[in-house]
């Protein structure tokens, strides 16, 4: 039935001289899966007063626990004992597997490597001992945007995903509980990565002003994209589930820049030699160089990365009544404090060794201090 009707229609069209000529379909270069252009803003902002007060109390308590050397040693011993018993399945760590330098799976060895992996390894060594550490860590690859959800589902004990300590993440949302952060393990700041043109060997864009109205890509669920929105110049935010997908888009000329923390962008630069970090100093009104060793830097936002832990009831239990997550958090704080210190007879502490191994050209000032809650974004 269809054919004669179609044939007649075609015949009629041809006869009337109106037959539409064949048009080949338009095929465009695809974007990586899950990319969204101008996504809805995510929750961000300063801490509200009630939670700020609570945070201050918690911060003070943790400072006290760490500052007394004898108490710290006792705590470390007791907590190690408890955690060895409580973490029977090992320490479950949620990580990214495609962020070179910070946390990635080496395709040739199959092993997870990077700055964050080495940091987590220090914690595991302190709990399980140096010989058993590697075997007792269980790495779970978790998409960044899913990290807090997985933590709250108890799928992982700790998140090590280059997560900036922010009030919004601590407070959570109506749908998602907030998390507790360890002390910071890396100070970093946000900048931009752009293409260098192969012929000119110089980037087409030298400063943020050159990127006016251009598409800028960041990882989905990160605060980076929110900071891009706040920049002058009406840049068009684009997000990809994995930050390395932004690099694909940059190569395919689907975006003009990638904006993320310098520690992450250095890894992306390793992936493609034809890229460059923006190197012209920023105007003073948008520059954030307080954690940068250069006084004139290209960071327009800065923060500290912390390990995220589950915050079961949103409150801090009394000493001696801590749950597993609180114990792990306090223990992690103590370990991070330990490795940040310079060792006897050695120029640097373990933190610096790891930093030099993975982030030798990263322009932070050194081991991060524990920022006060009001300093959090």
């Amino acid at each position: 039935m269809k054919k004669p009707a179609a044939a007649l229609t075609m015949l009629a069209l041809v006869a009337s001289g109106c037959a539409a000529p064949y048009q080949p379909p338009q095929i465009t270069l695809p974007t990586p899966p899950g990319v969204s252009i101008e996504p809805a803003p995510i929750l961000s902002g300063k801490c509200n007063f009630s939670s700020l007060q609570e945070e201050r109390d918690r911060w003070n308590l943790r400072q006290d626990l760490r500052s007394d050397p004898r108490l710290r040693e006792k705590l470390k011993r007791d907590l190690r004992q408890d955690l060895r018993q409580e973490l029977k399945e090992g320490l479950k760590v949620g990580i990214s597997q495609s962020t070179p330098r910070m946390s990635f799976r080496n395709p040739y060895t199959g092993e997870f490597e990077g700055f964050e992996i080495d940091m987590v390894m220090e914690i595991a060594k302190a709990i399980f001992g140096p010989k058993n550490a590697r075997d007792r860590i269980v790495f779970f690859v978790v998409p960044f945007a899913e990290g807090i959800k997985r933590l709250n589902e108890d799928a992982v004990d700790v998140l090590a995903e280059s997560m900036t300590i922010t009030c919004a993440r601590k407070e959570g949302t109506k749908d998602e509980k907030g998390v507790a952060f360890s002390v910071g393990y890396l100070d970093t700041g946000q900048t931009m990565l752009v293409r260098t043109e192969p012929v000119r060997t110089e980037p087409q864009y030298k400063s943020i002003n050159d990127l006016q109205g251009r598409q800028v890509c960041s990882g989905e669920g990160t605060v980076s994209i929110e900071r891009v929105r706040e920049l002058p110049g009406n840049m068009v935010p684009v997000t990809a589930p994995v930050t390395s997908d932004c690099l694909l888009m940059l190569r395919q000329r689907q975006v003009e820049a990638i904006s993320s923390d310098e520690s992450i962008l250095l890894g992306l630069k390793d992936m493609d030699n034809n890229t460059e970090l923006l190197n012209n100093p920023l105007p003073t009104n948008i520059r954030k160089c307080d954690r940068n060793k250069k006084s004139e830097c290209t960071w327009f936002a800065s923060g500290s990365y912390g390990f995220a832990f589950r915050n079961v009831d949103g409150k801090w239990n009394r000493y001696g009544k801590w749950n597993r997550y609180e114990k792990l958090l306090i223990f992690t704080d103590i370990v991070l404090e330990d490795i940040k210190r310079k060792r006897k007879r050695k120029r640097n502490g373990r933190w610096q060794e790891i930093h030099d191994k993975w982030l030798w050209e990263h322009s932070d000032k050194g081991p991060p201090s524990d920022p006060r809650p009001e300093e959090h974004e």
Binding site: M1, K2, K3, P4, Y22, P24, P25, I27, L29, P30, P32, P33, G34, E89, G90, K92, Q97, S98, P100, R101, F104, R105, N106, P107, Y108, T109, G110, E111, I137, V138, F139, F140, V141, V142, P143, E146, R150, P241, V242, S244, D245, L247, L248, G267, L268, D270, M271, D272, N273
Partner: protein, 455 residues
């Protein structure tokens, strides 16, 4: 013209009272209106002659057209559509094999088996060759051309992305091997690892493009061609719709003229018309026979259509298995955006666990559980060629693949078996000519004698 002039003259004579007619006398009316009745009779004779001629010509022409619709174009169309449908399925399968082989590189570490890229190359060559073959069969069908263009234009995008990935992954592998041999700068090694990760990102993008754009385009093409095959017999129906009533009308017309003449002339049957009627009855018999064949062919088309649908289901299962396998490669190779549990759900949906329980159990034991315990290395070993999961997967895949091959052979056989309606065009044309000769020579002569009597 002369005939018309004579007819007009005879009419004039008739109107003057020259009514010495035999056989038509009862039709004559003396009250002045008689000439109208006589003229009516003669016109009726002329119309009857014209009707017989038109019907015979109509039957002859539609018979030839019906035949042409079925043979050779009909058979050719069936063959083309069946071939395109099979080609589409083969392209589909080759693409999934190519993807599985390419993404396998994400698992293999420093020493990839040679076979992986070779399998990818073979599969993508197969796709390219089949696309050329398919393009040659395109004909002037714009809808088919669009379907094919959708594949032809997308395929290079896929291979370009995979080519980019291949260059990065292989280049990085060589650099790392060199660095390790020379114990050289670890910074360069880190850069090489970064390039390999970029290669993995390209593979993920290519694989996602294949699953979301390219395979659906092939599936659409395949479905259209399978539908075309199902519809192929229906197109012939319309030629029969015209031919058969004309044939019956011809017979009816001859019978009516025969009756009319016999009734009016009180004569026995007109031999010419009788001969033409007999020939028309023979034509009717042939047409009925051909229609019988046509209905047989219809049934065969429907059966082939069903076989192709079943074959399509099997290929879909195959495709989903290969998708699942490519997903495992992406997951273990660190390039999947899915979480382990999301991936498990997708795997179970793709594999239909109720049908292939042993494969799902193997997935749980050798992939999911080790991954859930953070032992991704163990899971990767199981997924690599020769690994415990890979063996189970290959066994399941092999049985599915064998069934696809068997069914493909069966379809081939059925297409060859289709006996299209008997060749009727030439005999009908001949019979029509004979009938026309009978009608014209015998009946026409009879008519003419009668008509002449009026002249």
């Amino acid at each position: 013209m002369a005939f018309l002039w004579k007819a007009t003259r005879s009419l004039r004579r008739l109107s003057a009272g020259d009514t010495g007619l035999y056989g038509f006398a009862d039709c004559v009316d003396d009250d002045g209106g008689g000439h109208i009745r006589v003229r009516h009779t003669r016109t009726r004779l002329l119309l009857q002659a014209l009707l017989v001629t038109v019907l015979l010509v109509g039957v002859g022409v539609t018979g030839v057209f019906a035949d042409n619709a079925l043979y050779p174009e009909g058979r050719e169309q069936v063959r083309t559509v069946a071939r395109l449908s099979r080609e589409a399925q083969a392209i589909y399968e080759s693409l999934t094999i190519a993807d599985k082989s390419a993404t396998g590189h994400l698992l293999v570490g420093s020493k990839p088996p040679e076979t992986l890229w070779r399998r990818y190359d073979n599969a993508s060559d197969q796709v390219a060759k089949r696309l050329v073959g398919v393009a040659n069969l395109m004909g002037g069908d714009t809808s088919r051309a669009t379907d094919i263009a959708n594949i032809v234009l997308r395929f290079p995008l896929y291979t370009n992305m995979m080519g980019e990935a291949r260059g990065l992954v292989d280049g990085a592998r060589k650099t790392i091997a060199l660095m390790k041999a020379e114990k050289a700068d670890s910074k360069k090694e880190k850069s090489a690892v970064g390039q390999a990760l970029l290669g993995a990102a390209y593979m993920r993008q290519a694989s996602s493009y294949l699953q979301k754009e390219l395979l659906p385009a092939v599936m659409k093409f395949r479905d259209h061609e399978t539908d075309n095959l199902r519809d192929a017999a229906g197109t012939d129906f319309w030629t029969w719709v015209i031919h058969l009533p004309l044939l019956l009308a011809g017979l009816g017309g001859l019978a009516w003229i025969q009756w009319s003449l016999a009734h009016r002339t009180h004569r026995s049957l007109n031999c010419g018309l009788l001969g033409a009627t007999v020939l028309m009855v023979v034509m009717l018999g042939m047409t009925a026979l051909s229609l019988w064949d046509w209905s047989e062919a219809e049934n065969k088309f429907v059966e082939i259509g069903k076989e192709l649908t079943r074959q399509g289901d099997l290929i879909d299962t195959e495709r989903k298995m290969l998708d699942a396998s490519a997903d495992i490669n992406l997951l273990l190779g660190g390039a999947s955006p899915l979480t382990l549990n999301e991936f498990k759900g997708r795997f179970e949906k793709n594999i239909y666990c109720f049908k292939q329980k042993s494969l799902c159990d193997a997935y749980n034991d050798f992939i999911y559980e080790p991954m859930n315990k953070g032992k991704s290395g163990r899971a990767a070993t199981a997924a690599l060629p020769g690994g415990k999961f890979a063996q189970k997967f290959d066994a399941a895949n092999k049985s599915n693949f064998e069934e696809i091959k068997t069914r493909a052979g069966r379809i081939e056989l059925r297409v060859g078996e289709v006996s299209l309606p008997s060749l009727i065009g030439l005999p009908i044309a001949l019979l029509c000519s004979c009938a026309a000769v009978c009608a014209v020579v015998c009946a026409g002569l009879g008519f003419w004698i009668r008509i002449k009597e009026y002249l």
